[in-house]
Symmetry: C2
DNA sequence: CACGAAACGGAATGTCCCTTCCACTTGGAA
DNA sequence: TTCCAAGTGGAAGGGACATTCCGTTTCGTG
């Protein structure tokens, strides 16, 4: 699946690492839409080098974030093994958001503020059933009211993330308050209306409409 | 304050109206960042005409949305006169969001997804004390738990709006569910930690960091 | 109805970013 | 040490927008 072709020359190897570090830094504060030119300049290489190594931006994103994404998948798995479903859910979401708060780029990726990469899609495919299972358990055990769906959990993720994005520069902890509110809402809202369509999760996370 | 200079020629008058209608339509679905070229093309005029009439984009935005903004201010005033503070708050927020759901552009303007215009700033200066009064009353009457601040209300507005923006194309009513969750959260969250800085409201609404 | 001011359209210019391309440099195998 | 495939930097071309400018057209007053 990940055919690397012939191994890179040592200097190319070095530059690749340098570019990854540089791009990660830039995207941690500025988000995913950093230009290749900026990355090259910050790394002290030419643009050609960036394009040669990462011809498609998604290649770059996947290389940059794959281990962090694995970490998040791990969190979901740990959470799903939690005895207390609600505790698992809140723990998972808070952890995930903490990670997102340290990297704006990763947050944008995980919350579908862009064109999803294959890696991200696969990550969600893997996490969604786990979350769904937790929600199910929590509803059955009475920790969550009937009517709460996995899509509502995703909605909470999106909501809190938007507060994080909006307030990062002047109130970097405000999202915690928003999370408190949103989670309390999940436990107390009357969501007995028609549940959201099943495809909503996918569309929220694999947002096409950029901009 | 609004010196209009010498009156416009009749054809210019007509074009101005045409441009406003056209721009409003475009921004209702595509948001505020429609290019002047697109507006001109859709209206069947040249770009020069758009620039002549609205040399600064803010001029255009204020002209486009001023009456809608007045409507929202009106809602806030009506709400603040409501006997039941909580009912006033929820009614106001739902109405405002309904209006935003009909115009993506207006939503972006009201929720600070851009560089705020003088008009928007004034609108928020006017509405903020009204909302603060309602929150205060609701807390005092026990409808909201102690610790809830006006900034939390704004946060809810931002959160629900983000869901609206993210789901507009495939689930145009999903924001109502998010609103239900968020409002329930406000009533049930334990927000006894240090309250957000007073400037948070302003910064959320007059967002500088565009994208 | 003539004529000057107002308005008009859209070509031209500048900026920013994406992407390709190629003449030059360099690593490392022979 | 030689040599060439691999690697490099940045110029160049292209597209999207913002903004300006000016030759032409249109209004509406005298």
């Amino acid at each position: 699946m990940t055919d690397t072709g012939p191994p890179l020359r040592r200097d190319a190897q070095r530059n690749r690492q340098l570019l990854l570090r540089t791009a990660y830094e830039l995207m941690a504060t500025a988000g995913l839409d950093v230009s290749y030119e900026d990355i090259a300049r910050a790394a002290g290489t030419g643009m050609g080098t960036v394009y040669r190594r990462f011809p498609d931006r998604r290649d770059l994103l996947d290389a940059l974030f794959s281990e962090h994404i694995d970490t998040v998948i791990d969190l979901a798995e740990q959470a799903s093994r939690h005895d207390d479903a609600w505790a698992g859910l809140t723990w998972f979401l808070e952890r995930q958001l903490e990670i997102e708060s340290r990297s704006r780029g990763l947050g944008e990726l995980l919350r579908g503020r862009n064109q999803a990469t294959a890696l991200v899609r696969r990550a969600h495919e893997r996490m969604t059933p786990l979350v769904a299972g937790l929600i199910d358990r929590a509803v059955r055990s009475g920790q969550l009211p009937a009517g709460v769906t996995p899509a509502d959990f995703v909605t909470v993720h999106v909501m809190v993330g938007s507060v994080m994005d909006a307030s990062r520069d002047f109130a970097p902890q405000l999202w915690r308050r928003a999370l408190t509110v949103a989670l309390a809402g999940l436990r107390h809202a009357d969501l007995t209306g028609r549940p959201p369509d099943a495809t909503v999760i996918d569309r929220l996370y694999n947002n096409n409409h950029q901009r």
